[in-house]
């Protein structure tokens, strides 16, 4: 059963804390992550299903899955000096692939792929103790053509149906966003107003409207990664988001939200 849902930023500067960043802002985001950790501890999940966009780490142009599931005993990766490894809830991961395919989603699965930092950064801050097994779900966000927001939303709806028939207590967590433009001229000018408008819709329980966005709109707003949030929105329906923080840095709209289930 689904017992909780969150969405979190994962910009690596939150982890690496280079001199380019505003210390107080980063610490405020850390405080919001600490709140997620406390909530996760209260929710006592048996598994954390993390929906993230791979930064061309696990999957390069030799194989570009739109939607993928890591089905292994563990998932590991590295980013710079950081090394990480998490147990995978294999029975649940396998059920998501099998039942997702039964429901018409032609999923890609992998038993060995490096785990991108998009999965690691939120878990570094928010993983309860002892650690909960994860199921990494990949959404292609950076290599066009990406899955449509509509398709991501439908996948989230299917996830909710599958999870409703499972005995495990499961928390869904989207990792990504909000506005940022890595590698482009707009890196230092994200679309913060666009972000705020989206957050208002989410607080009003109008997340379904995001399924109607086009991929081009997401790209122009620096929000290609919002596909991970839209996936979770498909699972939470009209739940009203509680915004833990929205901290616009010089390059990134850092948001953390919870949808109470």
């Amino acid at each position: 059963m689904l017992v909780g849902a969150f969405a979190c930023a994962h910009t690596p500067q939150l982890l690496a804390r280079p001199a380019t960043e505003d210390r107080d802002l980063v610490l405020r985001v850390h405080a919001a992550f600490a709140r997620v950790k406390r909530r996760l501890t209260e929710l006592r999940p048996d598994a954390l299903v993390v929906v993230a966009g791979d930064h061309v780490e696990a999957f390069f142009l030799n194989a570009v899955p739109a939607l993928a599931v890591y089905v292994g005993t563990e998932a590991a990766g590295s980013f710079g000096p950081y090394r990480y490894r998490f147990p995978v809830h294999e029975p649940l991961a396998r059920a998501l692939v099998e039942q997702g395919i039964e429901r018409g989603f032609d999923l890609f699965y992998t038993q060995e792929a490096p785990l991108d930092y998009a999965f690691f950064v939120p878990l570094h801050f928010a993983m309860p103790e002892p650690a909960v097994p994860i199921v990494p779900l990949h959404v292609n966000v950076y290599l066009p053509p990406q899955p449509t927001p509509r398709r991501c939303y439908a996948w989230g709806q299917a996830l909710a149906q599958i999870l409703s028939e499972r005995s495990e207590r499961v928390v869904l967590m989207a990792s990504g966003g909000m506005s940022h433009f890595p590698g482009t001229d707009r890196y230092a000018s994200p679309a913060f107003e666009w972000d705020r408008e989206v957050l208002e819709r989410l607080q009003a329980g109008r997340g379904r409207e995001l399924a109607a966005l086009s991929g081009e709109e997401l790209d122009r707003a620096g929000n290609v990664e919002l596909r991970t949030w839209i996936t979770v929105l498909g699972a939470v329906g009209e739940a009203k988001a509680e915004v833990y923080c929205y901290e616009p840095s010089w390059h990134h709209g850092n948001a953390i939200v919870e949808w109470p289930i």
Binding site: E21, R23, V56, Y142, G183, E193, W194, E216, D219
Partner: protein
Amino acid sequence: MADLSESVHYRFPPARAYVLNRCLYRLKSDAAFRSRFVTDARAAMAEAGLDETEQAALLAGDRDGLVGRGAHPYLVFMANLRLQMERDGVTFEYF
């Protein structure tokens, strides 16, 4: 939604740029290759199959030139950052 009228930032990576994107991907994610590049960039780029123009653009850090040749902007960005981290020992955990 607010009107954001520029063209898209992340485009379909053309197949003609596959070798260039593969080289950037290896600089980002393959520590041994990145290390070889730091030691001898020309040799590493030749090993990766880059042509002269691509090699010149990469050596010059010419982002627009690389993207114009079909490189993915995120790969250019992160390959460069990872190289900086390796060469200059970019300070982490500053606070």
